[in-house]
């Protein structure tokens, strides 16, 4: 029997994101925890949500967790195997793109939910180089809602991004419109301590709630900028059902949930 008092923060993160997925959403997934969140949502609360990858697979019926969005597993039971061009057009097209929720991650985030996944330091002579945008800039530009996974660390929640890879709310209420973007933007940040939302008016990040056992001050201590914590409400921990589904149906091999591996240097 699974003990719901015993869960990892990674499990909490996957479940917190899964709870945000609505039935009928087209869920753009990246590699790793975002796939688990999408898989869990389909099994729990959003059976008609559609798992969708930038590589072109539509409505994958995942039975094994893919190790990359190019993994052959993303084709399992798909309705259509399209191309990269098809996948991004589905998001840029407002008729379908309006139904897409994108799940993203990054190396840095600012208070408007803009992301850096490219470099730390100067672009021409970076101190640390990351993978780069991939499809993130496209998703952030096109879709109606994004959910962002982040580690709750001061060096990751920064006042100014070293490199601006993926648009969130840009610089506030009119930021996206001024830039030429429309539609929605970041809806929630899911960290290993808490959930953040973005204010409907100012588009600034605020604390939505902390996980069981975490205090708002701990969250603030692990951020490079201040946010409103007055609206925080407790986030319930994973239910037994949520945990069983996540562990046994989504990642029985523990490929994502159990990090047996030394993290890459840098």
């Amino acid at each position: 029997m699974t003990d719901e008092n015993q869960y990892t923060l990674k499990e909490m993160m996957a479940i917190a994101a899964a709870r945000e997925i609505r039935d009928g959403d087209i869920v753009f997934c990246g590699t790793g925890i975002s796939m688990l969140a999408a898989m869990a949502a389909k099994h729990i609360s959003a059976p008609n949500s559609i798992i969708f990858f930038e590589t072109g697979a539509i409505d994958s019926q995942l039975t094994e967790v893919p190790m990359a969005v190019g993994d052959s597993r993303v084709m399992n039971g798909a309705a259509v195997n399209g191309s990269l061009a098809d996948a991004f057009a589905t998001m840029q097209n407002r008729i379908t793109g309006g139904q897409v929720v994108g799940i993203l991650g990054a190396a840095q985030i600012d208070c408007f939910g803009n992301l850096n996944s490219t470099v730390i330091g100067d672009y021409d002579h970076p101190r640390v180089r990351f993978s780069g945008s991939g499809g993130a800039a496209d998703v952030g530009s096109f879709v109606s809602r994004t959910i962002i996974f982040m580690q709750q660390q001061r060096r990751k929640f920064v006042p100014v991004l070293d490199y601006f890879t993926c648009p969130g709310w840009i610089d506030g209420p009119d930021g996206r419109k001024q830039a030429g973007l429309t539609g929605g933007g970041p809806e929630m940040v899911v960290t290993d301590m808490a959930l953040m939302g973005f204010d409907d008016i100012t588009r600034r990040m605020y604390l939505k709630g902390c996980y069981p056992g975490i205090e708002p001050e701990q969250v603030l201590d692990n951020m490079g900028f201040g946010i409103d914590i007055s609206r925080a409400e407790p986030v319930p921990g994973p239910s037994e059902t949520e945990l069983v589904i996540l562990r046994e149906r989504c990642d029985p091999q523990g490929l994502i949930l159990t990090n047996r591996r030394r993290p890459p240097a840098g």
Binding site: T31, G32, T55, G56, A57, T63, E64, M67, A68, V69, G70, D71, S72, R73, V74, M75, N76, N81, G82, S83, L84, A85, F88, Q92, R94, N114, T118, Y123, P126, R127, V128, R129, F130, S131, G132, S133, G134, G135, A137, D138, S141, F142, Y163, F164, T165, C166, P167, R176, K177, A179, G180, L181, T182, Q253, G254, L255, R260, P264, A265, G266
Partner: protein, 325 residues
């Protein structure tokens, strides 16, 4: 254009003919799937240098070309191999050490740039990246561009929508076409004339293929002449786009080839570990690449057990239950 009905040649000859030092190249596949790895290793064995590589998310193939010192310049959206290396390690080290010049795009930008090349237009428009540093920061300076006729004079243009808000759009980014000197893709089937069939997701292979001045197709199965015509709906690349057909079983190994084999987690994990230091990476290169005369020998060295372990299940197209930790 090669009008021959038999374009089958060996890999060494194909690489020697079409991938000259300094060539502008692109490779098919995505992260850990259907990269033309046999061709990548042959480029490394032939010690090609100064390559200009156009990549969207070409993961393992791009990282190995960079690690072996073949690449001078890189235009890329994403250098990662999924969970095996969220950031490709030799790429990361090469950029941080300033050994290669890099310019960043998004995956859709790169896809559109190949599409523009395939369509024969100078650019395509998108709203992607407006307001970001992908638009604002260039990896290649205007000065560098001026001195190289094979590069467009600008990274991109942001223009106001000339149709005044039509399609609810105020501005677009125009991204310039790519026409590589050569594209190399690995596919499940091709016939000797060059008609090409990809099973499963084609990624951006088809536009990469059509954008290129020359195209090398490596294939798991060399189909008999005419046989692919029995189901023309499944074929993506017309033979007249193809310059060379190379019959290359396991040509995507250690990346996956849908319906034929999976990626090899043992190889990819070991690669990640060995890529971490200069000496262990050098040892990897000496043992696996320079130490094998061709891809068949590399596969032999991997051994029957590991090859058997990654054989694709006929129903799913991948190795169900494969230990991927």
């Amino acid at each position: 254009m090669n009008t021959s009905s038999d374009k089958v040649i060996g890999l060494a000859e194909a690489i020697d003919t079409f991938v000259v030092d300094g060539a502008h190249i692109s490779i098919g596949g995505f992260t850990i799937n259907r990269n033309p790895m046999a061709a990548v290793y042959e480029i490394i064995r032939q010690k090609k240098t100064g390559l200009h590589l156009y990549a969207h998310s070409n993961g393992q193939g791009a990282d190995e070309l960079i690690g072996a010192g073949c690449v001078a310049r890189l235009e890329i959206a994403y250098a990662g191999s999924g969970r095996f290396a969220p950031t490709c390690i030799r790429f990361k080290k090469a950029v941080e050490a300033g050994r290669i010049q890099v310019e960043d795009y998004s995956n859709y930008h790169m896809t559109l740039r190949f599409t523009a090349g395939a369509m024969g237009v100078p650019f395509l428009p998108t709203r992607s990246g407006l307001g970001t540093d992908i638009v604002n920061k260039w990896g290649f300076s205007e000065e560098m561009r001026r001195g190289d006729s094979r590069l467009p004079d600008r990274k991109l243009h942001v223009i106001d929508n000339p149709f005044n808000g039509w399609a609810d759009t105020a501005k677009v980014v125009l991204v310039p076409a790519i026409n590589p000197d050569v594209t190399i893709i690995h596919v499940q089937k091709a016939d000797p004339q060059g008609t090409t069939r990809i099973d499963g997701l084609p990624f951006a292979d088809v536009v990469q293929a059509k954008a290129a001045r020359h195209l090398i197709v490596t294939c798991e199965e060399l189909a008999s002449p005419g046989s692919l015509r029995e189901d023309a709906d499944r074929n993506q690349i017309p033979f007249f786009c193809v310059d060379a057909v190379v019959h290359l079983p396991f040509g995507a190994y250690p990346t996956a080839c849908y319906r034929v084999y999976d990626y090899d987690p043992v190889f990819l994990n070991r690669y990640r570990e060995q890529a971490e230091t200069e000496s262990s990476y050098r040892a990897y290169l000496e043992e696996m690449i320079y130490g094998t005369c061709d891809h068949a020998e590399l596969i032999e060295q991997i051994g029957k057990d590991r090859i058997r372990a990654i054989a694709a299940d006929p129903d799913t197209g991948y190795a169900v239950g494969l230990d991927r930790r």
